[in-house]
């Protein structure tokens, strides 16, 4: 009997062919040790290739990929409300631009003054600057009473809110406080890392302008990322490297959904 053509072996090895066809080839293999050896070698290749590259499957996605997905999701939610094709695409372009800006190429960029989003962000940075320097009374309610803090702020805000966990960035919750804002009561959570750096998460009732992607704002030494998601506007502020701050903002966004 003629040797089995290699193309047929490749198809067989890839699991192709009907059961009758495969059975026929399997029979021919019995008298073709060379073909059997080849199939075994290919199995071994597949196993080696599988093992060599499998490690990445369990790794968390790099920050850059997660941010691209978050921007797209934010945009989709905004788009679902607006139900307009052009603004949706524009929002996508803007989201990507702003992610670029967050990366530094538009460092120092300020949102147009007077817009509600910009005002919200300003307020968040002012609150941040006011309270992070506090040694004795940085917060009204400490992290030890986290449950009470959450209930109290949720009630005053009129919207459920909990303090996100920033442990992955090395920051632990100190506590929170209630603040006045243009749109009603605002909540602020404060976090601290081992070196004494502080970041704040500020949340206030939304400005009604729809969801946005992350935006970057800078004021003195403090910088922040802010976004609108549903009923609330959020801002994360701190005097720490922008990449770290962005990671914290992403963590907040993930947990506040």
């Amino acid at each position: 009997m003629d040797a089995i053509p290699e193309d047929d072996l490749i198809r067989y090895h890839a699991g192709e062919g009907g059961s009758a066809e495969r059975a026929a080839l399997a029979r021919r293999l019995q008298s073709d040790p060379e073909a059997r050896a080849l199939l075994a070698e290919w199995d071994r290749q597949d196993a080696e290739l599988g093992a060599a590259f499998a490690g990445v499957l369990g790794e968390p996605l790099p920050m850059e990929m997660r941010q691209a997905l978050i921007a797209a999701r934010t945009e989709d939610r905004a788009g679902a409300r607006a139900r307009m094709a052009l603004p949706l695409r524009l929002a996508g372009a803007v989201a990507l631009l702003l992610l670029g800006a967050a990366g530094g190429y538009l460092a120092g960029h300020q949102p147009p003054a007077g817009t509600t989003g910009a005002r919200f962000a300003e307020n968040a940075l002012i609150a941040h600057a006011t309270y992070v320097t506090e040694v004795v009374h940085p917060v009204e309610v400490g992290a030890a009473e986290a449950e009470h803090l959450t209930q109290w702020l949720s009630k005053r805000l009129g919207h459920p809110i909990k303090a996100p966990d920033f442990a992955s960035a090395g920051f632990r919750l100190i506590g929170g406080r209630l603040l006045p804002a243009d749109t009603g009561p605002a909540a602020m959570f404060m976090y601290e890392d081992g070196a004494g750096h502080r970041v704040t998460l500020y949340a206030a009732p939304g400005t009604g302008t729809g969801d946005t992607a992350f935006r970057f704002i800078e004021r003195g030494n403090a910088q922040g990322f802010y976004w609108i998601d549903g009923a609330l506007s959020y801002a994360v502020a701190g005097d720490i490297p922008r990449e770290t701050l962005r990671a914290i903002a992403v963590a907040a966004y993930d947990q506040l959904i």
Partner: protein, 167 residues
């Protein structure tokens, strides 16, 4: 599942494939990042003709091929006279891994892509051929050549020709 969910779900496997396609880890993640951004920008134009996964795979493999064309990486000489590996010794398993990675890197891009889709991803020949945009017969012969080269480069056999491989 939304298009976005499907795109997201495909990423880990795209990353695995990219590790096998690109020259190093950073280049692999750059390739996936570029593919992801391209897919996200175009997702509103997605008309649902076929699986989302196949579409994003196509995006990545095309970007990979175009990238190589630009950097002329594909001109790296693939020699049939690769050093046969030392098959003895206790560290064989570890060696075999790095060896198979090195061998992949030396395959011509078309063969590498074919092997990634079929041997690593476990796609059917039909799916893989559709993603690569080539007839199934072409894919089969690329796989045959890729497997033969890999065998030589990992030191497990001479360049013996078996009949029946299409050109």
């Amino acid at each position: 599942m939304s298009v976005l969910d499907e795109i997201e779900a495909a990423i880990p496997r795209l990353r695995r494939a990219a590790r096998a396609l690109a020259r190093d880890t950073a280049a692999a993640d750059d390739l996936v990042q570029d593919s992801l951004e391209r897919a996200l920008l175009r997702r509103s134009h997605w008309r649902g003709d076929g699986p989302v996964a196949a579409w994003i795979w196509k995006i990545m493999l095309n970007l990979h091929r175009d990238g190589l064309r630009r950097t002329a990486d594909h001109l790296v000489v693939v020699s049939g006279a690769a050093e046969p590996a030392d098959t003895g010794g206790a560290a064989t398993d570890h060696l075999a891994l790095t060896e198979v990675q090195a061998a992949m890197a030396r395959l011509p891009v078309d063969q590498r892509q074919a092997l990634v889709l079929v041997a690593i991803e476990g796609q059917s020949l039909k799916e893989a051929a559709a993603i690569l945009g080539v007839p199934e017969g072409t894919l089969v012969s690329r796989l045959g050549r890729a497997r033969a080269s890999l065998r030589v480069m990992t030191g497990r056999g001479g360049p013996g020709e078996r009949k029946g491989r299409a050109g």
